[in-house]
Symmetry: C2
Subunit: 452 residues, 2 copies
Amino acid sequence: MDEQIIFSLLEQRNFKELKPILSEMNGADVAHILSEVDENDLPVVFRLLPKDLAAETFVEMDSDLQEILIRRFSDKELKQIMDELYVDDAVDLIEEMPASLVRRILQQADAETRSAINTILQYPEDSAGSIMTTEYVYLYPKMTVEESFAQIRKNGIDKETVYTCYVIDDCRHLLGLVTVKDLLLHSYETKVEDIMEDHVIYIETHADKETAAQMFDKYSFLAIPVVDSEIRLVGIITIDDAMDVLQEENTEDIAKMAAVKPSDKPYLKTSVFAIWRNRIPWLLVLMVSATFTGLILNTFESKLSLISSVLFACVPMIMDTGGNAGSQASVTVIRSLALNEITTKDAFRVLWKEIRASFLLAASLAVACFGKLMLVDNLLFGYKDYTPFTCLVVSLALMCTVVIAKLVGCMLPMLAKKVKLDPAVVASPFITTIVDALSLILYCGLAIALLG
Amino acid sequence: MDEQIIFSLLEQRNFKELKPILSEMNGADVAHILSEVDENDLPVVFRLLPKDLAAETFVEMDSDLQEILIRRFSDKELKQIMDELYVDDAVDLIEEMPASLVRRILQQADAETRSAINTILQYPEDSAGSIMTTEYVYLYPKMTVEESFAQIRKNGIDKETVYTCYVIDDCRHLLGLVTVKDLLLHSYETKVEDIMEDHVIYIETHADKETAAQMFDKYSFLAIPVVDSEIRLVGIITIDDAMDVLQEENTEDIAKMAAVKPSDKPYLKTSVFAIWRNRIPWLLVLMVSATFTGLILNTFESKLSLISSVLFACVPMIMDTGGNAGSQASVTVIRSLALNEITTKDAFRVLWKEIRASFLLAASLAVACFGKLMLVDNLLFGYKDYTPFTCLVVSLALMCTVVIAKLVGCMLPMLAKKVKLDPAVVASPFITTIVDALSLILYCGLAIALLG
């Protein structure tokens, strides 16, 4: 359906024609439409939706719009939504709402859901337990395929994923799993214990949620069981939530690499003040650290000027190239660490690779730099201060800078990981500052030693 | 199972004890173990695996190890693997292998698989068609639930996802879908047409594979149907492949933001030469562009020195802060564009947000800078050159730099997107160069105008 038509119907407040159109849409798309609706019309438009689509849409909405809706809902309406929500979505909702609304929301949930919500809420924020759902299909080993289907039919309607069923004993210890595909492909009399996979890969409730998400990436599962310290099944994590976690972690890493504190809201929903708060700390830190570079520059300035006026003109080129070379290496290593392509154990392999690469790069850049200075600046523009020997010294300094930048760039994230810091934090801006200072000292030192 | 034990068994070449241990493991884990095995032992260890695990492991291995194995396989062994592979995995394999091996691989695939492989290979590299599989379960509208289960049992064993079944007519037009969950929760006599979802969200074969992956992120599907221009079903994309695409795109974006050409291999598998080739272009471009900054610096140097020796010391601080402020804005906007949180239509909303945020940030930084220069440099260290007026001019220049950097930083990616370039390419390094030049001109201009 064309969005243009929908928005023009909305503008005309032609809800009668709108209703059948919205009813045929997917919840995620309706949520997108609702995000553009005027606040006062929002409850009216939302009430056009059939019950199950309403819940599906509600889950996909931004939390500020959810809040508006809940405040306008009657208790009965709120209860209808709560009845349709999966437990993990209900938990997400409660985590976003102000305390005053949370009480009202929990009152409208049935006792079983309320207790499930409380179970999940007790796990630490970034743990596997916090993103699991307690709704799953369980089977016992002695059940037949036929009984299993009966169990799924009986209990499955509310369960988020019915396609992986977990086999447990009477104490809820996790014994194995069967997929619905396995059940479908075996005869009705087959016992679950004969077809179940008994080497189940699971995750503990207190493990990092990022670890859980990476397991999906690695193993291509649709769900992963979450167990307590005695391997008793307490919940499952489904692949859609894992995908959200992966995307979130990627967004966070990218933000950190750009020296921004990650925001938990989409850009347009982030307030100007929040943007300020997320960006100012690193800007201040980096500003202060840049003054050291300034000090170094000031110390050497007069000496450099005495030697040759052109030496100064090359400072930005040396510093920028160093910074870029360093951030190339650091970002590559940070990403490889995040994808588990390398671990801190690979430090020497990484170092060896970067040393070789950096010499190749440094040599290419030095040749290009020498050629550019001699041909363009000396011959073409006639700056005769660019003597061959001066250009050689500049190129040499550039070479050393690139090599140092690459080594700092690749080793710092490994070091951060080793001491359990987030490698993404030591990315480009941080490394640029270090490399700036190092390259400046090196450049000035070399120039004074060789040309002074 | 403890990896340590496995590796020590491998070292002792104790294959007898190794075999039962490996047999209980997941393919992804076995592939990890095999990546550490000596090339000569690789085929031996691989042959320890039971048939289905062998295929599962093979799919997860890096392409260089797959190539080694295929070269050592007998035709019969190769055929066994090919029989177990899903079509989309077979396509991935063929895309990675040298031409000489591709012929041998195709010869060992059965005629049906070969034709399916060729169908998928004909789609452009980054299209939805190229990541789909042609193996899916299809039903007809007049079938009952019971007949549907029979159809799944008959055809489902080879199909990658049996949980979403697509309903088609005799010309393969896509009419609807039913999930196995729907089938399980309805009586055996129910007709498929009565329970099928008939507003199916699909993607066309020639759409971008990233678009397909983002649909999974948005809609939480397990599979998405791929259709031709006449809405005839030609394949499906499964969520695990979508997850791979998302991770790949994230890695590519991160690489581009750090001025690196993305590599299609994991870091440790990328040759030193390939690393050089991926990194040298941007380093060269940025080095040359940095010489403009040098030219500007050179032009103003003597004038700045005449006014006050301290003005020079502040150049790195102004330039670095500008660069950081610009990359914060650009990376935030690039990520929001990638996540579809904003589109180019939101340009004014983004601009307005960044203008307000940049004034807040610029004011905070200017105050901090003024305070630091006056308190630390003037009072504490006694550099009396830092007069209040000089510090004011420096802080003013810093303010303007931050505002300009933020505006360039947020608008350039939007502009890139508008003209259908990849926004990630105009990230930090590119913006830093522009901001460096602008801020330097501004700083020197201000200093000369106000202090000269």
